[in-house]
């Protein structure tokens, strides 16, 4: 296994009274695509926010490239974030700027490049996601899939070492889905960056991931390559991978006895 880019040890995090992570440990290898999977509500997106330093864990360590993220001060954190890119589920494009200006935004904020150079960078990034022709559209004129591709171009505008994708496959038509999947793979190979994909779409995720980590109830339930997980003999992994409705993972939210509950209404 190659050297680890992100190292997480005994991480605890809770939101209000609800404990989201109770001691997870995880290594994300450099230069590979690692998928974080798990049922809804297991804190997959929260994990990305912890890596990005937008949330602070209550206990445990989390380091990116050897930098202890929760211990950085504001300036160091912003410095570290310049090397991270994040694709949000909604795209999160700035609605008062058009496509071109959205991609120039991070460049202009951080560098004093001449206008022609900025234009070159932006057009290169747009060409990569196939939207060079859409540069003058406003975010409200884009379809969901296009918005996500523009957001992807913006996320790689600063040439990050680490790309995080938050649910990149949800709510897309099959064709757009295919392009996003191949884009993630292509970017990982051509730019040599480390990718973390958060998703619960088994098929697409397994097709591009080098490593998969399944989270459940605040713990790491299983890790391994897609093949290893497919052939795993753990009941939980089999339920998750094959999408069976019943198994170790309960379908019902914790409740008291069904018969008793029903009878209460009859009384």
């Amino acid at each position: 296994m190659s050297q680890s880019f992100i190292t997480i040890r005994d991480l605890f995090f809770s939101r209000g009274k609800r404990e989201i992570f109770s001691g997870i440990s995880l290594d994300i290898p450099a230069g590979k695509v690692t998928a974080i999977m798990g049922p809804s509500g297991t804190g997959k997106t929260t994990l990305l926010r912890l890596i990005g330093g937008q949330l602070k864990p209550s206990q445990g360590t989390l380091s990116v490239e050897g930098l202890e993220i929760p211990k950085l001060n504001r300036k160091q954190l912003y410095q570290a974030r310049r090397r991270m890119g994040m694709l949000f589920q909604s795209g999160a494009l700035l609605t008062d700027l058009n496509v071109f200006e959205n991609i120039t935004f991070p460049i202009r904020e951080h560098f004093d490049f001449p206008e022609s150079m900025i234009r070159d960078i932006v057009l290169m990034k747009l060409e990569l996601v196939g939207l060079r022709g859409a540069r003058n559209l406003t975010p409200s004129e884009l379809s969901g899939g296009m918005a996500r591709r523009v957001a992807l171009a913006r996320a790689i505008a600063l040439d990050p070492l680490l790309m995080m994708y938050d649910e990149p496959f949800t709510g897309l038509d099959p064709v757009t889905l295919g392009t996003i999947v191949s884009l993630i793979k292509k970017l990982n190979q051509s730019l040599g960056l480390t990718s973390v994909v958060v998703s619960h779409d088994i098929h697409e995720t397994f097709s591009i991931a080098d490593y998969v980590c399944i989270l459940s109830e605040g713990k790491v339930a299983a890790t391994g390559t897609p093949e290893e997980l497919m052939n795993s003999n753990s009941a939980f992994v089999q339920q998750f991978v094959q999408g069976k409705p019943d198994g170790p993972m309960p379908f019902h939210y914790a409740a008291n006895d069904y018969i008793q509950d029903i009878m209460k209404g009859a009384e």
Binding site: R49, Q54, Y78, R81, M86, A92, P106, R154
Partner: protein, 259 residues
């Protein structure tokens, strides 16, 4: 039962304290960004436009009508004492000391404050603020501080425009319609209105109001629950809290300045 009630009050008090603390820390972060904003006047100018220039119309209209009404009502009262030559004093002092700062602040919170809250709240709900953070751009310095500064600058300017337009409208009604002597209108006003006392204190009021109204507006937006319901509630809160804060502060400031 009683204990429960006390617990409730206790929790409520801690809520208020926590909120005050959070709002103060937020204000500190906003103020720390001022230096950066001043190096990028383009951002400030854009916000001065949407906060100040776009509020101008409603301020001008209200000022004219308030001035005219003051003049009419003042004349009806003063003419009974044969003191209609003091009309200018009455109109100008009410506008400068009280109505100018307060009405402008209330209108401003309805026009610009609510818009600020809604805009920032929506940016939060659509993850725009979070995505800026991940692009290593501090959303407080990039988005909040220019808006905050623009609000603090705009309201005092709008207030002096309100005051002088209101007085002029009162003068037109008084001298042209009601026949008050033009000379005594202005001369009485000039001898009774003191720049160092009345005008400066009215101006200080507007600076305080601008600070508080904008602070409430941007804080409510930044702290909105990121759903459409949360943003709409934040917008309502922004206007309601601003109005309450302006009226309460006005009482305190008036007691300190003019008694």
């Amino acid at each position: 039962m009683m204990l429960n009630w006390f617990q409730h009050i206790g929790a409520f008090t801690f809520d208020i304290l926590a909120n005050t603390g959070r709002a103060s820390i937020f204000l500190l972060q906003v103020i720390l960004g001022i230096k950066e904003t001043l190096f990028r006047p383009q951002l400030l100018i854009r916000e001065l436009y949407s906060v100040g220039v776009l509020s101008l119309l409603i301020i001008i209209f209200s000022a004219i009508f308030v001035g005219m009404v003051l003049s009419l009502l003042g004349y009806v009262t003063l003419v009974d004492f044969g003191a209609e030559s003091s009309l200018g004093v009455l109109v100008s002092l009410s506008l400068i000391r009280e109505l100018g700062p307060v009405l402008t602040a209330l209108l401003f919170s309805g026009r610009a404050g609510s818009a600020l809250t809604a805009e920032i709240g929506l940016m939060k709900a659509t993850e725009q603020l979070a995505s800026m953070e991940m692009m290593a751009v501090d959303p407080i310095r990039r988005i909040i501080t220019p808006r905050f500064l623009a609000g603090c600058i705009s309201l005092p300017l709008l207030t002096v425009i309100f005051m002088s337009l209101g007085i002029y409208a009162g003068y037109l009604v008084g001298s042209i319609w009601l026949g008050v002597d033009e000379g005594s209108f202005w001369s009485q006003m000039q001898s009774k209105v003191e720049f160092g006392h009345d005008v400066i204190n009215g101006f200080i009021k507007s600076i305080v109001f601008g600070f508080v109204v904008t602070w409430i507006a941007v804080y409510q937006g930044y702290n909105a629950i990121p759903t459409s319901e949360g943003v709409s509630r934040a917008t309502t809160n922004s206007v309601v809290y601003s109005a309450l804060a302006v009226l309460a502060l006005d009482f305190i400031l008036t007691a300190v300045m003019f008694v």
